[in-house]
Amino acid sequence: MTNAVSIKNLRKTYKTGVEALKGVDLEIAEGDFFALLGPNGAGKSTIISILTSLTTKSSGEVKIFGNSLDTDRDKTKTYIGVVPQEFNFNIFEKVIDIITVQAGYYGIPRAQAIKDAEPILKELGLWEKKDSPSQQLSGGMKRRLMIARALIHKPKLLILDEPTAGVDIEMRRGMWDFLRRMNAEGTTIILTTHYLEEAEELCRTVAIINKGEVKLHETMHKLLEANGKEKLENIYVDIIQDSNNKTI
């Protein structure tokens, strides 16, 4: 089976001289629910930004479902739906317009997009708000709106950058159920989060990166087994502290 994501020796040095990625290798299987973990500034968002073509890599190779980012960029874009960390929709636009405009950018006509949006918005509890300006939504609703926007073109790969930050526990669990269903229906999901119980609850594979390098890449089951079924949070802290000490 083709990997959903294949990253080889990925490097990124920003104009400021900051080396955000120092030769990252990652393989993410199709259908996986993948946790990309690491402290702030580890390079998670840079990887996501490169996958979604918002940042240009310095070197290395990236393939999405076997298509190179260098030679088949447009095709790779059709496979990906992204939920960014920060709210980045126009706060003056209505919910339904944000969704249908996003669909339009993928070549989906507005009438079709409205039909496609209905089940997504209903499932995410936003259908009643479809004609409201997005600035009137609560924080949790705004997060769900970004998920709905990312799903409107039916991507095979959904990338979520801290999707539950600032969301209350009940809503978070609702989002977990939704994401589990998406994954069960075949969507590959990459999740970055600082809530490690969320990663432990949802993901089958985990990669921990620190200072631009992959420190661990393992299935969740094997990782927990190998560490005496300790909580992911404790394992994570040990790995990060260990890699920080080595650097010092």
């Binding site: 920003y14 104009k15 930004s49 979604t52 073509s53 918002l54 940042t55 240009t56 447009d74 095709k75 874009k77 059709t78 990906i80 992204v82 960014p84 920060e86 980045n88 929709f89 126009n90 706060i91 003056f92 317009d97 249908t100 405009v101 996003q102 669909a103 339009g104 950018y105 993928y106 070549g107 989906i108 006509p109 507005r110 926007r149 073109h153």
Partner: protein, 257 residues
């Protein structure tokens, strides 16, 4: 992306811009109409009635094409510079950047939004001018070509400004300190034939002079400069700006890391 999908994406950008423009009409459409209306009253009626005819036309008839063009230039420029910069600042530019919409379609979408607003404002100002003078059209083809090319050119210029802008100052410096002086000194209110030779020669370095005169030729049938030169300049600058915008998009200057 197939041509059909490219068209849908382009239409989506255009529709989005139209909805925005209409939603905030009191910010996008009304101010230039009010401002130029005041110009018609103060310069055209009050002061203009005291002035001699220029090339056989009343002062009011003389300034109408220039004032329409001034509103087209300002509206086209301000539309793209502000929408692009705000999309960049609010990061909703990412919505289109993560999609397979090609760069040239994104550029075309933003520029068409500017053209749409420029032409709409220009039409409204033309309608207002009818309250002060009657309409004379000498050559409709020249008139339409001049106004469309001008709005494309200044929409592209606004887009390039928006790409480079790093803050809100960056979107106001060029319009305030470059565009406005060039526009006011671009032959809207006078014919350069009335100038001494030195100032006449200086005026010929102002590109807006050629634009205003091409447009005025379409209305009144006379121009201070050669129409061929005006259109060569318009097309040349538009092409340079289009290529610049494409190169900047390819590099991701100002909006990609």
């Amino acid at each position: 992306m197939s041509p059909a999908k490219i068209w849908i994406s382009y239409y989506t950008m255009l529709r989005k811009e139209f909805v925005r423009m209409v939603r905030i009409w009191s910010q996008t459409l009304l101010p230039p109409v009010v401002t130029t209306g005041l110009y018609f009253i103060v310069f055209g009626s009050f002061i203009g009635s005291q002035l001699q005819a220029i090339h056989g036309f009343s002062y009011m008839q003389f300034i109408v094409p220039g004032l329409i063009m001034m509103s087209v230039i300002t509206s086209s420029y301000m539309n793209t510079v502000s929408t692009f910069y705000f999309a960049k600042w609010q990061r909703n530019l990412d919505e289109v950047l993560v999609s397979p919409t090609p760069d040239w379609v994104v550029i075309a979408g933003y520029v068409s939004g500017g053209v749409m607003r420029g032409l709409l404002v220009g039409t409204l100002v033309l309608i207002v001018s009818l309250f002060f003078t009657h309409l004379i059209i000498y050559n409709i083809a020249v008139l339409l070509c001049a106004v469309v090319l001008t709005s494309v050119m200044f929409s592209l210029a606004g887009l390039v400004n928006g790409i480079f802008a790093k803050g809100f100052d960056g979107i106001s410096i060029v319009p305030t300190f470059v565009l406005t002086p060039l526009t006011y000194l671009g032959g809207i209110f006078y014919s350069i034939d009335q100038f001494p030779p030195f100032w006449r020669a200086v005026s010929l370095f102002n590109p807006i002079l050629y634009i205003v005169n091409a447009f005025r030729y379409g209305f009144l049938g006379f121009s201070d400069v050669s129409i061929a030169t005006s259109f060569t300049l318009l097309i040349g600058i538009t092409l340079v700006l289009a290529v610049t915008a494409l190169v900047l998009f390819k590099r991701g200057t100002g909006f990609k890391n």
